[in-house]
């Protein structure tokens, strides 16, 4: 265990936001779930009362009969925001005193730094470069992610959960978000920051980042594992695999939604539902690709002369 290396990584001013991220994201996730649990219990309690059922299920915890269901922004919200603003200011001042801007040497066009890393918030995307073609990881996937995020308000028009924490009312939405954000974004950022060393090799935390490390990493395309040869056969095999994967994942998801969340399906139009399903399947494809690469040394599913998936 090379503690010097660990300290170097953790104390780097660049990495401090990610160390904070490591602590804050689980904490706020836990906090949200605690609030959601309380609200869910309150909602359940209120829903038992037939009179309250229609009107009062949006009341956030804590609530006692006779208390206002909603309060004015001024002063109740603003004074708390003011307090938060002061605290954030203090944190920022202290941070700026204690940690200086992580400036590095002037760029040298003839010398690429190793490892060469994107800003921390982009490290998840950079990590995707390990698994996909540069233009898929760098152009197609970010575009789909951005467009998908923009589409969410139009796909998901369910008003439940607006303004209060809940889990029971929005299980699918919250689970999908947490998976997409925590696993596919935050985790990849953390891997990109702490795990990827010189040569973008995988260094477990505490391993010395040795520029001369020799590593054995041979990956195979899926068709090679299956012994498929011939130009068009390879493309056909890959296309069939990817198509089949999408169909199966899409089908299972559909059956699951219909069986377990009929209400959600009913609230959505066909276009909304189909878009949602497509984004879901694409997300799963990314996951499958990561698992296949890290777990089974599979490079690509679909190999064509123009692009690989």
């Amino acid at each position: 265990m090379d503690w010097h290396q660990v300290w170097e990584l953790v104390s780097l001013p660049d990495n401090v936001p990610i160390v904070l991220l490591l602590l804050m994201v689980p904490f706020y996730t836990w906090l949200a779930f605690r609030e959601a649990g309380r609200n869910d219990r309150l909602i359940a309690e209120l829903e038992r009362d037939p009179d309250m059922r229609k009107t009062h299920h949006r009341v956030p915890y804590p609530w006692k009969p006779g208390w206002p269901k909603t309060v004015h922004v001024w002063p109740h919200l603003l004074k708390r925001e003011f307090l938060a603003a002061i605290i954030v200011t203090v944190v920022m001042i202290v941070w700026s005193i204690c940690l200086d801007a992580p400036l590095e040497e002037p760029a040298n066009p003839s010398l690429t730094m190793n490892p060469s890393k994107a800003p921390w918030y982009f490290l998840g995307l950079q990590e995707l470069l390990v698994y996909f073609d540069p233009w898929i990881a760098g152009v197609v996937l970010p575009s789909i992610i951005l467009m998908g995020l923009m589409a969410i308000p139009y796909i998901d028009v369910n008003p439940l959960g607006n303004g209060y924490y809940t889990w029971k009312q929005r299980k699918f939405a919250i689970a999908t978000f947490l998976f997409g954000f925590l696993v596919l974004w935050v985790l990849l950022v953390i891997i990109g920051t702490f795990i990827r060393g010189p040569g973008w090799l995988w260094f477990n935390l505490g391993e010395t980042w040795d520029h001369h490390r020799v590593d054995h990493q041979v990956n195979y395309d899926l068709h090679e594992l299956f012994g498929v040869t011939g130009a068009w056969q390879v493309i056909a095999f890959g296309a069939a695999f990817v198509g089949g994967f999408c169909a199966i994942v899409g089908g299972i998801t559909h059956l699951w939604v219909v069986k377990c969340m009929p209400l959600m399906r009913k609230r959505m139009s066909l276009v909304q539902y189909a878009t949602m399903l497509q984004l879901w399947v694409l997300m799963m494809l990314v996951v499958a690709k990561i698992i296949a690469r890290l777990g089974f040394t599979v490079k690509n599913f679909l190999v064509t002369p123009w692009f690989n998936i």
Partner: protein, 1042 residues
């Protein structure tokens, strides 16, 4: 708070915390934190991030006392200087001059103060106002006209006229009431007064001229003789501490398009102190100490060069010591460690092999060449000759190929002209083409000839540091080779040959290959047994010890380390070989730097007899026959060859079949700026990071100390995968460590400094040193001086002491018989450029005997024929001779190209007689030879021979030499027999200094004639020498015999 949604259920007892709970306390605490952090912010900005303030406080507390301690010494120095009679005399002269001009100066000052200045003062304000109003109005008028506003223009014209007509109130001194003056009147009077002021100032200057000169002489003498600052300036420094401003002290330099800001002085407050202070005087504060080399700073003034371009570090940073010194990660040029400071010199002075003020870098460069690093590692500028030779040889091949192709093409064209069926046009074209091709051929041949000359010249210039192994079997004893290869330092600790990490079996393979691979070389047969005692004398007296070190009967290990130590020679080779080698080293090794000492056969045998008798009784060798059997083993040849190739032996040695081996090491020209990741620390990365030596310095030092260090813990597929670099320095416990341990660290520091300095220059181009003309000649000359070890015998720069001069036989006080003493030293070359004719010097360098090869005269020196030590014959190429000549000219601030030998009017009969008399009277022939002598007494006639005076000496130099020899070479044996005529400018022979014998030889009659000569005697002698003939030699020979 109103409840928007009416609820039917009962009111709760509890109050709603969201609405009722106060957050005053949290807000209060947050505000306190905010204020506290803001205060911290300010504190951080003004104190934490400005640590120089503490340093400056400390400086103020200590500097006053430190300067105060200098006051007494300064006072004493002041007293010493001001009580000197010269000072007093100058002071008196100055006061007298002042007194002489005082009345006139006072008169002028009175006029100035009473008539001119008060009137100017009274007028200047009204004139200024009136002029500026008129100028503004003129501007408006002009622009109105230019824009065609006729009406407005007219208006402004009127205004301007009104302004000029307006009267202003002027209070002239002496006047009772303010007068009313017009514009013209004011301006005219003002201009008159101004010109009067200038005139009076001019007159004062003219009147004061002598007084000013006297004052300047007085001040100049005082400043030149004061060795410390004057008490007044020390006092001023002390007083300045009271008004010291606590602030960032910075140097701001505009360079090229950017700027350089150096804030080092913010903490290093005393670094440029006009009165140098050291740490001890500053209560131990090293940070305030003055720069150790003010002479260096005079060459590189910080206000032009800054600090960080040489030292590294971040000149702009003042936040912390680490930041300012650039020790933070990502700062590309951290401040150099103390022992490597001179690496900064290499920024600009990579091509300077020798620098004043940079002994470490000089040593590093010397070692890089001397230890043969350049054999394996390419380095821009080093080993240039071998590279150029390779290129030239390649070019020759190319040119020959071109010639062949052109010749074939000509034949083709000729065939066409001879073809009966060819058309008239075709034949015509072919003729023309053939003519053109013949021109090409001619050009190619000319180019070929030039290249052949280059190759011949470079062939003389290329040197290898190791002996020629092509003749190994003819030269070396077989049992010695085996012992030597195992660990050269076990045989001779001071050897340049490094230790290779080879086992016994590999040693045998290598030895067998070298033995079988060598070509038998005939050894010159020289008769005679040789007298070892005489041989020892020769080694000491002929100058061998300027390069070699040896232990003689009297002295332990004397001489120089430039070339191999000569001890234990008898164990290595035979007397016959040594004799043959010293007779003609280039016959045995065409790449040797060793010159011919022009030894007679007898001398060669004597030297060989002594050297071959040098043996150690400690040595244990394999039996000769057994060694021969091992070396003759044919089975070892191939294995040995592979090893020799792999280990790069051909980098230093000539080996049959390996003449064109490339360099096996990595190029080091810019090793200091190689990215750290590209230096292979092997498995030691973690260890070095932990020890904070994961940097270039750490890498170089460890690699030089133990070249195999980065092989630690590695797994090798074969022996040849290991690091190849041999060990140049013994490790503790190895052979030679005890003898060398005192110098190892110094040499490693020097080489590390050299490598750390081997970077791309990062300082602004306008600050870089790009020598041209004389400076370039000097730069190039040093490479040859060091290559041929000229400074082993000769003093090149004032104050230098060549190794040879330090031998006991050349000591100043050496007076025992048969020992040359101070006058027998090889001559100093300080001022050589101004002394000798450049054309002659080139000729002399080609053949220092100035005599044909086969003659007896060839064995002695051409100029200083009486000297026992020889100026050897170096095999210099014409180009090298030119470089050396230019070097000496440049050192004397002369250029080669503008030298034209001055012509003198021939001496008429009377003048010739006078000159001859002066020469004889001065007894010049007592020390100087005259040419044509057969027997020479080395104890007295060490001075240059007059045989060559005419071609050799620049006449202008003679004049100064015969009049003031001590100003050219302080402490020379040359007497000054001329003196200035009392009350005149003429130099005449000082009869008081003449010896009775010499005067008798001249005779009274001729002495009288000489005394009545009205011309300058030095001038006469100069003309006499410049037109010296063999006849004069004969004449003075006769005179000497009288």
């Amino acid at each position: 708070m109103a409840d928007i949604i009416q609820t039917p259920e009962a009111q709760s007892e509890e109050q709603d915390p969201v609405v009722t709970k106060s957050i005053l306390w949290p807000v209060f605490l947050a505000m306190v934190a905010l204020v506290a952090s803001s205060v911290w912010c300010v504190w951080d900005e003004f104190y934490t991030r400005r640590p120089y303030k503490d340093y400056q406080n400390e400086w103020v507390a200590t500097a006053k006392q430190a300067y105060g301690s200098k006051l007494a010494a300064s006072q004493a120095e002041w007293t010493r200087v001001t009580s000197a009679p010269e000072y007093k005399a100058l002071e008196t002269a100055m006061r007298a001059a002042e007194a002489k001009v005082a009345p006139e100066v006072t008169r002028l000052a009175t006029q100035m103060n009473s008539e001119v200045l008060p009137r100017i003062a009274a007028l200047s304000q009204p004139v200024k106002v009136a002029r500026s109003e008129a100028a503004a109005m003129t501007y408006r008028l002009e622009h109105a006209r230019a824009h065609g506003h006729a009406q407005e223009a007219k208006h402004y014209e009127a205004e301007l006229a009104a302004l000029k007509a307006r009267k202003s109130a002027v209070s002239m001194p002496g006047g009772t009431a303010p007068e009313s003056w017009g514009f013209e009147q004011m301006v005219t009077e003002f201009n008159r007064l101004k010109s009067l002021q200038g005139e009076l100032q001019g007159q004062t200057a003219v009147v004061r001229r002598e007084a000013d000169a006297a004052r300047a002489a007085f001040n100049g003498w005082r400043d030149a003789h004061l060795r410390t600052a004057s008490p007044a300036s020390v006092q001023a420094l002390i007083d300045s501490i009271d008004s010291f401003e606590h602030d960032i002290k910075q140097i701001h330099i505009k360079i090229d398009d950017g700027e350089l800001i150096e804030r080092c002085e913010s903490c290093h407050t005393g670094i440029l102190s006009p009165v140098p202070l050291d740490a001890a005087e500053l209560a131990g504060h090293k940070v305030f100490a003055s720069h150790p080399s003010m002479d260096l700073l005079k060459l590189h003034p910080p206000e032009r060069f800054g600090c960080s371009p040489c030292h590294g570090g971040n000149g702009i940073a003042v936040e912390s010591v680490a930041m300012a010194h650039g020790k933070n990660k990502h700062w590309l040029w951290p401040m150099l460690a103390k022992e490597n400071t001179e690496a900064g010199c290499m920024q600009c002075h990579k091509d300077d092999l020798w620098l004043a003020h940079a002994s470490t870098v000089n040593e590093g460069k010397h070692l890089f060449q001397w230890r043969g690093c350049v054999g394996c590692h390419r380095y821009e500028g080093f080993g240039r000759e071998a590279e150029e030779l390779k290129l030239a040889e390649k070019a020759v091949v190319g040119v020959l190929k071109d010639q062949d192709a052109v010749e074939i093409a000509i034949v083709r064209q000729v065939e066409i002209t001879e073809d009966a069926n060819a058309s008239a046009e075709a034949v015509d074209g072919a003729y023309r083409e053939a003519t053109r091709l013949r021109q090409d051929l001619h050009l190619a041949r000319t180019r070929g000839q030039q290249l052949a000359q280059d190759v011949a010249s470079l062939d003389l210039e290329v040197k290898k540091i190791g002996p020629n192994l092509k003749e190994a079997a003819s030269k070396l004893k077989p049992e010695w080779i085996l012992a030597w290869l195992k660990d050269p330092r076990a045989f001779r600790p001071t050897t340049k040959m490094p230790r290779f990490r080879v086992d016994d079996e590999q040693v045998r393979d290598i030895a067998a290959f070298l033995w079988q691979n060598s070509t038998p070389k005939e050894i010159a047969a020289i008769d005679g047994d040789g007298d070892a005692e005489r041989g020892q004398e020769l080694v000491i007296s002929r100058g061998c010890l300027a390069c070699h070190k040896v232990t003689t009967d009297e002295f332990d290990a004397i001489g120089n380390e430039f070339s191999a130590e000569l001890s234990r020679m008898g164990e290595k080779t035979s007397a016959a070989y040594i004799a043959s080698w010293v007779k003609n080293p280039r016959y045995h090794n065409r790449y040797t730097v060793m010159p011919s000492l022009r030894l007679s056969d007898e001398d060669c045998v004597n030297i060989a007899a002594w050297l071959s008798s040098l043996k150690s009784d400690k040595a244990v060798y394999l039996d000769n026959a057994a060694a021969l059997a091992l070396l003759g083993d044919k089975g070892r040849f191939e294995r040995g060859k592979k090893l020799v190739q792999h280990l790069g032996c051909a980098a230093c040695h000539e080996i049959n079949g390996l003449e064109n081996e490339g360099r096996i090491g990595t190029e080091l020209s810019e090793e200091g700026s190689k990215p750290l990741e590209r230096l292979d620390f092997g498995t030691r990365t973690k260890e070095y990071k932990g020890a904070h030596t994961y940097n270039h310095k750490g890498f170089f030092e460890a690699k030089l100390t133990s070249p195999s260090t980065y092989d630690k813990d590695k797994e090798f597929a074969s022996w040849s995968d290991r690091l190849r670099m041999p060990e140049f320095f013994p490790l503790e416990g190895q052979a030679g460590y005890e003898e060398l341990k005192g110098s190892i660290n110094g040499e490693i520091d020097a080489l590390t400094t050299f490598l750390l300095g081997s970077t791309e220059a990062h300082i602004p181009p306008s600050l870089q040193y790009m020598p041209e003309g004389a400076a370039k000649d000097i730069q190039q000359g040093w490479w040859l001086i060091k290559k041929y070890n000229c400074d082993g015998c000769h003093q090149i720069l004032p104050g230098a002491t060549p190794v040879l001069w330090t031998l006991p036989i050349y000591e100043e006080t050496a007076s025992f018989t048969g020992v040359p003493g101070k006058n027998g030293r090889p001559p100093t070359l300080v001022g050589e450029g101004s002394r000798v004719d450049p054309v002659w010097l080139s000729r002399f360098l080609a053949n220092p005997a100035l005599a044909a090869d086969a003659t007896d005269a060839h064995l002695r020196n051409g100029v200083r024929q009486g000297m026992t030590v020889r100026m050897p014959t170096f095999y210099l190429s014409e180009r090298e001779r030119g470089t050396l000549v230019r070097f000496f000219q440049a050192l004397s601030d002369l250029s080669t190209t503008d030298y034209v030998r001055p012509e003198f009017a021939p001496l008429d009969a009377a003048e010739l007689d006078l000159a001859r008399s002066a020469f004889t009277a001065g007894d010049c022939a007592n020390c100087h030879l005259l040419g044509g002598e057969t027997a020479v007494n080395p104890d007295t006639t060490y001075a240059p021979s007059f045989e060559v005076v005419r071609e050799r000496i620049r006449p202008g130099w003679t004049h100064r030499w015969v009049t003031e020899p001590n100003t050219i070479i302080p402490g020379t044996a040359m007497p000054a027999i001329l003196q200035r005529e009392a009350g005149g400018e003429r130099w005449i022979v000082n009869t008081a200094k003449l010896s009775a014998t010499a005067m008798r030889r001249v005779g009274d009659e001729r002495l009288k004639r000489l005394a009545s000569y009205t011309g300058d005697h030095a001038e006469l002698l100069m003309r006499y020498f410049a037109q010296w003939t063999a006849e004069e030699s004969a004449f003075q020979q006769d005179a000497r015999k009288k």
